[in-house]
């Protein structure tokens, strides 16, 4: 009986670029581009040296943070930021839940779907800072512009992810509830809500976290809060106060992070 011999070597076939010529050409092209691009970057080493020097001063201030001298400003900025964060997150969630449901293809009729999707796209196409600049120009300096900015950004973020989660729902559970004769609201309440609730809670807490960090950023363009205080401190070369502010921001973000992961596990 003849023994069949099988090959002992096997190589994984290329997945994306199956043509060997194009594969080599594209890889070589990318490499050449990278080298040329790196050469075009002009680096002023003297300026880098100067920057390192300033950076060191900043780190020095960070190591000896000064919480006391500007404490009143810091506290005011902090309270403003926290208020802005919380109110904008709550307002954002309240608006994004209906928009998220409307943007889920398996629940909403086509016209509503399109309207909700365009709201989401509009909200997501602008970075927070740009919206903040616009709203500060409209409503003046201060936390109101910040509140509006963060609420608007929250809508884009939360509605999109909620809509995606709804679309990924287990279809058989929805089908089973529909089969009982349930109306649209009842299907949402009984079949969809239990499935998306843990994710919605998790995303909302995550957004709270993001909104706090963003409130520090948009403060720099005039939307109030701890960012404005930080900006003032840096403008005055008060790196020790700036260091104190940064430490507080980091501490708060850490607290929010830990508590949210705990809450997320609890609602699972």
């Amino acid at each position: 009986m003849a023994v069949q011999s099988y090959p002992g070597r096997w190589k994984r076939p290329p997945v994306l670029l199956t043509n060997p010529f194009w594969r080599r050409a594209i890889y070589t092209g990318a490499l050449v581009y990278l080298v040329l691009a790196l050469q075009s970057v002009e680096i002023d080493w003297q300026r880098v040296w100067l920057g390192l020097d300033r950076g060191w001063k900043f780190i020095e201030g960070f190591l000896v943070p000064d919480f006391t001298t500007r404490w009143r400003d810091i506290r005011e900025g902090l309270v403003e930021s926290l208020t802005m964060t919380l109110t904008s997150t709550v307002a954002g969630i309240l608006v994004s839940v209906p928009i998220g449901i409307g943007a889920a293809r398996n629940l909403a009729p086509a016209p509503i779907y399109l309207v909700c999707r365009s709201i989401i796209t509009l909200s997501r196409s602008f970075q927070e800072v740009i919206i903040a600049i616009l709203l500060v120009a409209m409503f003046g300096f201060g936390p109101f512009a910040g509140f509006l900015t963060l609420s608007f950004a929250t809508i884009g973020f939360l509605s999109k992810l909620l809509a995606e989660d709804i679309e990924e729902c287990d279809r058989s559970q929805i089908e089973a509830i529909r089969a009982t004769g349930a109306g649209w609201w009842q299907v949402v309440n009984y079949a969809v809500q239990p499935q998306v609730m843990p994710r919605l809670v998790g995303l909302s807490l995550y957004r709270l976290d993001i909104n706090f960090r963003e409130s520090a950023v948009i403060g720099i363009v005039g939307a109030g809060g701890i960012g404005a205080t930080l900006n003032t401190a840096i403008d005055r070369y008060e790196y020790d106060s700036a260091g104190a502010i940064l430490i507080i921001i980091i501490a708060i973000v850490l607290v929010v992070e830990y508590s949210s992961s705990w809450i997320r596990r609890w609602v699972q």
């Binding site: 287990d170 058989s172 089969a179 009982t180 004769g181």
Partner: protein, 271 residues
């Protein structure tokens, strides 16, 4: 009584799932619907309660044609038809009680179901059904904490909570072990007899179908190729439905398996 009159379904992709299916199911009759995968069994029962829109024909339940209904009228028709699913299709994060009570959704207004304020009769009925399916102690458990057999019992209780006039059952035993499968089939059968309820059961397992149904309908490529008593399901008929296979062998294996089953099982099965 349920009557299907030349029911047809062609999907948007051009696939014909059902062509001109007609039959009647009198009250109290349990019909087993068998056929190869893709024969249109699932489509057929979903056309009856309009989870799938039929493209032609009539579905007449106690005098009303369900195919033309819309909106609230469709809701009222659906609540008369209980459905039991293959993978149980319970809402996993809700409690067992909420799952059973969801059988009343077609009867109560949205605000009541939202607040979980069901009438005492509905709640009492749910408790009684849970007792009948042997899950009295589990009503506050979350559905995903139950085993497969227990989940299917909740599914049965949910369907019966609707006070249905018809039961549609889609592969009730496909994800269950043989013993649990038989218990579930027995439970469905006895529930139907007690209420004089007609049922259509999609089922892959021919022997289970023969044992627990009053009538078998064989579906192949969207057409009825057999309709008769379970005893009339000969090897020739099976070949007509499924294609060539050694059917005597299949029966032989099952019989051997049955004899080796200890008699004590039967006592527990009544649960």
């Amino acid at each position: 009584m349920l009557e299907l009159d030349r029911l047809s379904k062609t999907y948007a992709t051009g696939d014909t799932a059902l062509s001109q299916v007609s039959f009647e199911v009198p009250a109290g009759q349990v019909v087993g619907l068998i056929g190869p995968s893709g024969a249109g069994k699932s489509t057929l029962i979903r056309c009856i309660n309009r989870l799938v829109e039929p493209s032609g024909g009539k579905v007449i339940l106690s005098g009303t044609n369900l195919v033309t209904l819309r909106g609230n009228a469709l809701r009222r028709a659906r609540r008369r038809i209980g459905m039991i699913f293959q993978e149980y299709a319970l809402v996993e994060r809700l409690t067992v009680m909420e799952n059973v009570l969801s059988g009343r959704l077609g009867y109560v207004p949205a605000w009541r179901s939202f607040l979980r304020r069901y009438s005492p009769e509905d709640v009492a009925k749910a408790f009684s059904l849970l007792e009948q399916v042997g899950l009295s102690d589990h009503f506050n458990k979350r559905a995903d904490a139950l085993s497969g057999g227990q989940r299917q019992r909740v599914g049965i209780a949910r369907a019966l909570e609707q006070d249905p006039e018809l039961l549609l059952v889609d592969e009730p035993t496909a994800s269950l072990d043989p013993k649990t499968s038989r218990q579930i089939m027995r439970l469905i059968g006895s529930a139907c007899r007690k209420r004089n309820l007609p049922a259509i059961i999609n089922i892959h397992d021919v022997l289970l179908a023969q044992q627990f149904t009053d009538r078998i309908i064989g579906l192949k490529a969207g057409e009825v190729v057999f309709d008769g008593k379970p005893e009339a399901l000969t090897d020739q008929v099976l070949t007509r439905i499924y294609g060539d296979e050694d059917w005597t062998r299949m029966r032989g294996e099952e019989n051997a398996g049955e004899e080796s089953q200890p008699p004590t099982v039967d006592l527990a099965e009544g649960l």
